[in-house]
Amino acid sequence: MSVIDLITRVDAICQKYDKYDVDKQKQLDVSGDDAFARLYAAVEADAEAAAQKAELAATEKSRATAIAMNAEIRRTKSRLLEELPKLQRLAFKKVKGLSKEELEARSDLVSALKDRIEAIPDGTAGVSGQNGGSAASTSRPGIRFDSTSDTKFGSEYHQQTEESEGFRQEYEMRRMKQDEGLDVIAEGLDTLKNMAGDMNEEFDRQAPLMDEIDDKVDRAASDLKNTNRRLKDTVTQLRSSRNFCLDIILLCIILGIAAYLYNVLK
């Protein structure tokens, strides 16, 4: 059997026999009926852990790790603050074995715990952030990162640094500009598509016309070629040397006769 198998078996056995564990039961019994005390203990433990982490983050050199830890702390804070209303409700519940004063003390305890949680530093600037926070909390209704019930915390919770505020605004501006640019492109594409469709139809219309023109021109060209050939034949025939010589001889004879007559008549 490997180590892992051993460990799993041990866990299973422990779970089975947990109910026989006296110490554990005693602990559970203490806060068994008292949901408030249980929850209170849990929240307090978490708040302690968060405070310790905050101290660590304050001493952290690397900015990235500091930011990451602060984010973690903020998340924990918001979670704890969410639990607080439940705690409040439980605080007013009557539990057996508790005196009236203790009941009242419980709600005080709850509010004290709330202050403690909020006091945990989470890396956001104090004073200036408060002014910026109230403006920032209304600017982004859509996306929420950490908290869902932040109306209770007031505007101080959304303490933003000036840097992140500016960054967020720039991001918004750039996104709007991109949207505008994309709109312009979309319109241009629409026009192009329409023109392309019309051109397509026009070409469809003109293609058979071009074919007709092609045919007609071909026919005319072949007719012309024929005619030219025939003309050439005729002209060559006319200009053949035999006819030429005949013409010259006959011309000479006529001139001779004319000269003879001229001489006779003179």
Binding site: D190, T191, N194, G197, N200, D204, R205
Partner: protein, 296 residues
């Protein structure tokens, strides 16, 4: 070739065609030649009346010589001269006759071209006649299977109808245009024609007709898949909701901007009348049939 006084030419030609005791058959060949010369001479002299007559006679001569092509050409010239003389009924007659002669030659394109020329001349003055000429020209082309050429004619006919404010006729013409486009698979023009028809009906503030038209057109696959269909759906739903802003916004959209400019003008004027009233009527109509069902 005497380039003498065209009157003399005309007289000579007439003499050659008139039958009398000495002349048993008219000599159309020489007569036609003389008529043509006279007509050209008259036209140069800007004597349109005489030129027109000369062209008419020349055309008749060519007919007698059984060359309908030349006859048709002369008729067209006569028609253009009649236009100068502002003799509108004659213009129509001449161009119709020319078109008939072209059909005799078996050439449908020039026939419809002749009718188109006549229609264009008469657009301003006698629009009804112009429309008749346009529709006849479209019919000629469609018979010959050349629907592609008919698009321009449909466009012209539609714009004349809209100018005359006969919107139902305009919409009918647009639907016929869509049909012609369908036959030659010109889906872009077809969808544009259907969208224009819907807009015309909406301009008439007749949303029931528009919806009927839209339903008819939706049965055609090509229209259903097109941009124009989306635009039409948006427009009709905006009308159903009575949202004036939305209607105006859609009228500015690029799909409508690509239609014919006459239609764009109509679309920019939408919505005409009270859209909310339309909406009430529509909902009331929907309630009544339900009541009848309850009673029965």
């Amino acid at each position: 070739m005497a380039s003498s006084d065209p009157d003399k030419l005309m007289l000579k030609a007439d003499k050659q065609t008139k039958l009398s005791l000495t002349r048993w058959s008219a000599d159309w060949r020489s007569a036609t030649a003389l008529y043509e010369q006279a007509a050209i001479a008259y036209r140069l002299a800007k004597n349109y009346e005489k030129a027109k007559e000369a062209f008419e006679k020349a055309s008749k001569g060519q007919e007698m010589l059984s060359s309908p092509w030349d006859a048709a050409k002369h008729m067209e010239s006569a028609g253009s001269l009649a236009k100068e003389l502002r003799n509108w009924s004659e213009v129509a007659d001449f161009y119709r006759r020319a078109s008939e002669l072209y059909i005799e030659c078996g050439r449908s394109q020039p026939a419809s071209d002749a009718l188109t020329k006549g229609a264009r001349v008469l657009e301003e003055v006698v629009p009804e006649e112009a429309i008749k000429l346009y529709t006849d020209a479209c019919a000629i082309l469609e018979e010959d299977g050349k629907e592609q050429m008919a698009f321009d004619l449909y466009r012209a006919a539609t714009s004349v109808y809209i100018k005359l404010e006969k919107f139902t006729d305009a919409a009918a013409t647009l639907l016929r245009w869509g049909l012609a486009a369908d036959k030659c698979n010109a889906t872009n023009s077809q969808c544009k024609a259907y969208l224009s028809a819907i807009i015309v009906y909406l301009y008439l503030h007749d949303s029931t007709q528009a919806e009927k038209c839209y339903n008819d057109c939706s049965q055609i696959d090509a229209f259903l898949r097109s941009d124009q269909n989306r635009c039409a759906t948006k427009l009709l739903s905006a009308y159903a909701e009575g949202d004036v802003e939305e209607i105006k916004h859609i009228a500015q959209s690029s799909t409508i901007t690509h239609l014919d400019h006459v239609i764009i003008r109509l679309a920019r004027k939408l919505p005409t009348g009270d859209v909310a009233a339309l909406e009430n009527n529509a909902s009331k109509e929907q309630e009544e049939p339900l009541d009848e069902n309850d009673l029965t």
